[in-house]
Symmetry: C3
Subunit: 319 residues, 3 copies
């Protein structure tokens, strides 16, 4: 049985896009769309999670991601507790479980979990009691499913139908939980082709199994694509000798207007942020008319509201 | 006059269990019971403290305790401000009073105070203006009254009547504010016998005055008790040469199923948390059928809601 | 065009008192007066900013100031996000703008900005989108306009009419954003005379342009004044050899009952806090009958509520 679904097939935890039925992904997008109009208004609140308690359990600091979940929860009228937990807690140590059980006993309804270790959110989801939902806010190299879903939302917003689309993901695929989640989501939603573009050193060995066509040359890879998803280059990779230099990376894989001209004329450019200007993307592109980087952020709130409210619907009745 | 009561004998501050009339302790337990059912629901909020401002004044970091007070206040619909104040502020220095007066002038209604110095909460309570309540969230070795009251609540929940009970408190009594508050509460509520069990080096000299029977041998002390309250062993005491070693402590005073078998068959096991597995308590006991450690956490929210709402009733009219 | 006003002359951002029409300053004071009565009640909330999101963007830590803005926003029923941003972000670097645009894309309605660099709040205000307001919570030596307005509110509360008043500002004028904002506000509201009192080393060179009469001798400067505004002495200035010693500073510029006797019999004493007792002010004066230091704190909440709600009125329609 899928850990993420309840017995009626509804979303209980949101841990990874992998293995979720396409209809459920579409339901998330549709629900997010209904919140999208609320967010633009001056009164942005809906009472769906009133009286519910959401705990942001960040074992790895990420002010930006935490803020989007905090805002999403507050706009659903939930009470939010932020807990920045030292990274020293081992994922599988008993101390983490004791911490979890204690927080659960405070009758919280949802854990939003960020952890540097792959699998942390799954581990936690396997150990919570029936009434509690777990949302993965990024675990190691594994998954960042709300990021992938806000990307899907943004693509649908601009392109409508997924079926005819060719989507390229560019950069450090190997270390990116975002890329993994994107590839799963794009395939589940039925795009025509997913491409990954990057140097050999930054592509995972199992890339063929993921369902993506590999390009080492960016110009070939970008030809006639509808969507370009740039990835953030983690600068610490440079030191690991996986890459020659920032300048060299930018020359080969940085998105410039020149390279973007090879894509379709109405192609959109996405990036999960924060962007490294002049490293993986040129400012002219990031701030240009095809960039939907800031709409992605706005959509991120709506998508997180959708995931949270759907998960609470399922657990609300189970509790 | 009792600093904790207003002129009508109602709870104004909650600083220590010591000296409070038993009827008031029972009132706290009864009020907590009424909140207990609310906490289990999906909408856990009551509007009793709407528009009130609660400030968590933590001079000593304690994420766990702060979170329980923050949740209790939010479930009462109060606005909560968390202030982590450096421990460098001297309790009796003028700077602390200036800080207090400034926060008071922001029209806050309640200070929840945690401090490493015994007497800090009393000091603050003596200096606040009429409309402000002070709740002690732990001061030095002195008191941790909401912890004691959640223990009483948990005992009453499982045992009903206090009168026939024999309760044993085990471990480092000397350094424990929890033990002090428990002994006062148990005696005030009229249990048949309070026992303290621990090595000579970890028992206070004035233990006879507190109203507890002393046992140095755990097996003798646990015989036929109804309730076992384990204390957390502060590991830093080890270095102070008060204790031989963790293994030796566990052998003599750690709660195992073997030792627990000497208590009554329906005895319950409590612990204020976080537990040190294998130091003061064996995992088989902590996770076993007699453990009420996690219900204690849940009850802690209801008890804190009770204390906060009662104190606000008294000061609300005085203000 | 004034960056702070919308096309209808209403307050959009509150960056500095300088250049604002006196009628608008009076409107802020009048609006604050209407909130002042609310703050004293047990239910202190008004729904004016319900559903709005206020972000406290503190590039420089100031728990006290942040708390007043957080309380003001919560009492207006806004959702508040606190972001303590490392001071390493350069004001004019692209990374600050990317951070801002990202936060904006989360659909926040207001930034409360504290920064050690003069001009930071203006820079941010120049770059936000139409629907977003910026409130300056102190930028470098430049301005602290809500502090100045709460001072004006306190003066009006005690003195009624500004026209006949002589107001003295005492201490380290050179490094004080508070003094600059006070001088602008007092002149705009039409007081009879503004005096600045301090040693030559702590007076700015352009002091004559600001519209204040300079006194190096405190006894001459205090003669017959209606209001004494003391400034906090930043102790780190001492090391910079701008001052001989704290004791010497107190002897010459510390406010004692003896010196205060030279002011009018009903003169009031103000201080932005936190006070250095025995450095710039004697405890007998700070705690004495003429001190309005704590009422200033209370008024600070009402004034911040006023500025926030006025700015939201203007941007609410523009958005």
């Amino acid at each position: 049985m899928n850990l993420q679904l309840d017995q009626d097939g509804r979303l209980r935890h949101f841990l990874t896009v992998e293995g979720l039925p396409p209809a459920l992904l579409t339901q998330i997008l549709d629900t997010a769309e209904s919140f999208s109009s609320v967010i633009g208004k001056s009164v942005k609140k809906v009472p769906l999670l009133r009286g519910r308690t959401v705990m942001n359990l960040f074992f790895e600091a990420s002010t930006r991601t935490r803020t989007t979940f905090e805002l999403a929860a507050k706009r659903l009228s939930a009470d939010v507790i932020n807990l920045d937990i030292s990274t020293s807690s081992a994922v599988k140590g008993e101390s983490l479980l004791d911490t979890l059980w204690t927080l659960e006993a405070m009758q919280c309804d949802m854990f939003v979990v960020r952890h540097r270790d792959s699998g942390a959110a799954h581990f936690i989801a396997r150990h919570v009691r029936p009434g509690v939902s777990v949302i993965n806010a990024g675990d190691g190299r594994h998954a960042h499913p709300t990021q992938a879903m806000l990307d899907m939302f943004t693509i649908r917003q601009h392109k409508g139908d997924f079926a005819p689309l060719v989507v390229a993901i560019v950069g450090d695929i190997l270390h990116s939980r975002v890329a993994r989640s994107q590839i799963h989501a794009l395939n589940a939603l039925g795009v025509a082709e997913v491409r990954v573009i990057g140097p050999r050193t930054l592509l995972p060995r199992d890339i063929d199994d993921l369902g993506a066509r590999v390009f080492y040359d960016m110009r070939s890879g970008l030809r006639d694509v509808d969507v370009v998803c740039m990835l953030r280059l983690q600068r610490e990779r440079m030191e690991g000798a996986l890459l020659p230099s920032e300048a060299e990376f930018f020359r080969r894989y940085g998105l410039t207007e020149d390279k973007l001209a090879l894509a379709k004329p109405d192609a959109i450019v996405m990036h999960p942020g924060p962007i490294n200007r002049g490293v993986e993307i040129d400012s002219a592109v990031a701030d240009g008319p095809r960039s939907v980087i800031l709409p992605q952020v706005t959509n991120g709130i709506a998508v997180r509201m959708a995931v949270m409210s759907l998960a609470m619907q399922a657990t609300g009745e189970a509790a």
